[in-house]
């Protein structure tokens, strides 16, 4: 039986009638057309579908959309306005070649947002620990670590 939910995604209010079994990642992609959130493993291991639920990074493949009723979701679409106005983290990834195919990147970016809010100047070890929750099969992670370091520096500079 369908249920009606109301929630905010990237600050915009949406209301939809959905089946309870609909995963949040599929709701974002198919019902709202926000295809920046990628679906990889569907069992919480790869991290590609990571979004923010009330400002905390969570796997959107392990949440039912009905559970987001009344909550705030943030996806990668909410980070930068576009190629001319990228978020500092996106700029870091662009500058340091922090991606190749890009499939894992939205999940990594959304994992990083709350991480850097809590810890604006992380050590390399802390960055690698955070990245352990996101699988990338292209880069070997070195460029991602450098991208995070640059992105974190840019974020610190803009917040000063």
């Amino acid at each position: 039986m369908n249920q009606t939910i109301e929630l905010f995604v990237n600050g915009k209010k949406y209301s939809r009638s959905i089946e309870p079994r609909l995963l949040l990642c599929d709701f974002l992609r198919y019902d709202l057309g926000l295809t920046g959130t990628h679906v990889g493993c569907e069992h919480g291991v790869c991290g590609a579908c990571t979004v923010l639920l009330d400002r905390e990074a969570v796997r959107s493949c392990l949440l039912f959309a009905v559970q987001a009723n009344g909550r705030e979701i943030a996806t990668v679409e909410g980070l930068g306005e576009g190629p001319q106005q990228m978020h500092a983290l996106q700029h870091g990834f662009w500058e340091m070649h922090g991606l190749q195919c890009g499939y894992c990147t939205p999940g990594i970016l959304m994992s990083l947002v709350p991480f850097l809010e809590e810890n604006p100047d992380p050590t390399e070890e802390e960055i690698r620990d955070l990245l352990s929750g996101n699988i990338c099969r292209c880069t070997g992670y070195q460029k991602i670590v450098e991208a995070v370091q640059l992105g974190a520096r840019l974020l610190r500079e803009t917040s000063n």
């Binding site: 995963l23 990074a57 949440l63 994992s111 991480f115």
Partner: protein, 294 residues
């Protein structure tokens, strides 16, 4: 894949949740953080007729000090325990184990009660609960009881709870004077399921002998495995390197029953149990030596 259809209930009170669980019996699953249940539903290994979502029950989210030590509501997020200064002080072993549970993104959603009730043999929290002599508060429509952690685990993914019962709270006793603790595990990558892990608690007497010891393993049996013979060997002994190593050896050879998988065979898991067992006993003893007498 995608989950099969189910009835969805999100009660606001514990009483409503217990009513629903009683009405559905074995056909309903309580949904806590969903970090283990939803993957099994996504792969259709589980197809419950109904989910009783506990996430809207405010009364199940708390960390407080009470008569049994540190009390955590079953829905307390693992991340909240990790960030809790009260938990670090009142249950330091629990606090030390938290970062080993999967990844931050999982712990943001995963709950204390969910992990304890799921009874995965590779899970950290059941081993920690036994090592600390924690107790679980279990409710149903008609009954309420405290179950010692040691009696709570009865087999592979199995607990002492009956259909209609729900784990609502867990309590970890305060550390004893002159006691120390340690947790360690080995996984292929941080955040993966551990191939072996162990929690230890060591309490020393005023003379510096071992008064009480606990050594509990994960990932080497059907559930958390308490190495009671090894612990009994240590009681009354001076905590020398030789004694601690002998206890870990006893546990690894006689008290665990590891099953192999593609990541680690039984022999390697036994080796890990020996090494990790010795390490946690050694670290726990060192901390007990540093701990205040009273």
């Amino acid at each position: 894949m995608k989950p099969a259809a189910f009835d969805y209930h999100a009660p606001r009170t514990l009483e409503e949740a217990l009513d629903l669980l009683a009405a559905y019996g074995e056909d309903a699953k309580p949904l806590a953080g969903g970090q283990s249940l939803v993957p099994t539903m996504n792969f259709r290994l589980a197809q419950p007729e109904a989910l009783v979502d506990l996430n809207e029950i405010d009364g199940l989210f708390f960390i407080r000090e009470g008569e049994r030590g540190l009390h955590c509501g079953a829905m307390t997020r693992q991340r909240a325990v990790e960030r809790s200064g009260m938990a670090r002080k009142a249950a330091p072993l629990l606090h030390e184990a938290m970062p080993h549970i999967a990844h931050a993104q999982i712990r943001n959603r995963g709950t204390i009660g969910g992990s304890l009730a799921h009874a995965d043999p590779a899970a950290e929290l059941p081993a920690v609960a036994i090592a600390l002599d924690a107790s679980m508060y279990v409710r149903s429509v008609t009954d309420a009881r405290w179950v010692p952690a040691r009696d709570f685990y009865v087999g592979l993914f199995a607990t002492a709870m009956e259909p209609g019962e729900l784990l609502v709270e867990v309590a970890f006793p305060q550390p004893r004077p002159r006691s120390g603790w340690a947790f360690e595990e080995v996984a292929r990558q941080h955040g993966n399921y551990a191939m072996c892990g162990a929690a230890a608690v060591v309490e020393l007497s005023e003379e510096g002998a071992i008064k009480k010891a606990r050594l509990v393993f994960l990932s080497v049996g059907e559930g958390p495995v308490a190495a009671d013979q090894a612990a009994a060997m240590l009681v009354g002994e001076r905590p020398t390197a030789t004694a601690l190593r002998a206890a870990a050896e006893e546990a690894a050879t006689k008290e665990i029953d590891p099953v192999g998988d593609i990541h680690a065979g039984p022999a390697y898991r036994r080796h890990l149990a020996r090494v990790i067992g010795e390490r946690v006993l050694t670290r726990a003893t060192a901390r007990a030596n540093e701990a205040p007498l009273l």
